[in-house]
Symmetry: C2
Subunit: 135 residues, 2 copies
């Protein structure tokens, strides 16, 4: 039995000047995890660099301009036809105000403690638990 392909998705924990993190809610029309909260980011396009892809996705989804700071974790989701490997990077806001695309219908800036209680896409729940324990 051939194993499923792994695809890469890069996600950002965007921190504001108050140390809160940005979460955005997947719209009702989302194919996966509709109505659940998510981090900005997404798949790298062919030939795209890691940071180029993440900065582009953040701009498309939130209109924020950010600087990527550090790798903060990894996660995985198992879909019927593939596995998604998530790499999570912390980023800080350089400028801009959150303005969502049609992919998301709400946004919030939450503390690390609140993140652990947020109704996030299931693949990120272990990660945010370990983040809350570290603080």
């Amino acid at each position: 039995m051939p194993s499923k392909p792994f695809v890469l998705s890069v996600k950002a924990l965007i921190r504001n000047s108050q140390g809160r993190y940005l979460v955005i809610r997947r719209s009702a029309a989302s194919k996966h995890n509709a109505g659940l909260w998510d981090f900005p980011g997404g798949k790298t396009d062919p030939g795209e660099t890691l940071d180029g892809a993440l900065i582009r996705e953040i701009q498309e989804e939130t209109e924020l301009r950010v600087e990527l700071e550090h790798v903060v974790g990894a996660a995985e989701s198992d879909l019927p036809d593939r596995k998604v490997a998530y790499l999570l990077l912390q980023a800080r806001v350089l400028d801009g105000r959150v303005s969502l695309s049609e992919e998301h219908d709400d946004s919030a800036w939450v503390t690390a403690g609140e993140l652990a209680k947020t109704d996030l896409a299931p693949q990120f729940r272990n990660f945010v638990r370990s983040l809350a324990e570290k603080r």
Copy 2:
């Protein structure tokens, strides 16, 4: 000041049938971390998929044929001109015996506990500590 680019490197914790993990020692001629132990893997080439790159690197470095199983962690190293973001995946051996290229000069199969005491490249030390705590 522009921030450094982030480049992606994919590394494998290859598990054998005894539950031991493969580490390989970087040869004296290595540009970074010469003489330290490492996990098989490396950078994705332009246009290459995550799993394609990792399976190719493992084959080139060890001649093992593996199946990728799960995302197990992330790490980072800060070089003068760039940051490397590491995504670590667990893999299992399908077939083959370890045969090293010129990039490495020794190999060993170690337990998770031994991994924490191995003289690994510094970017993986936090990761193996947390791995040992989980077992």
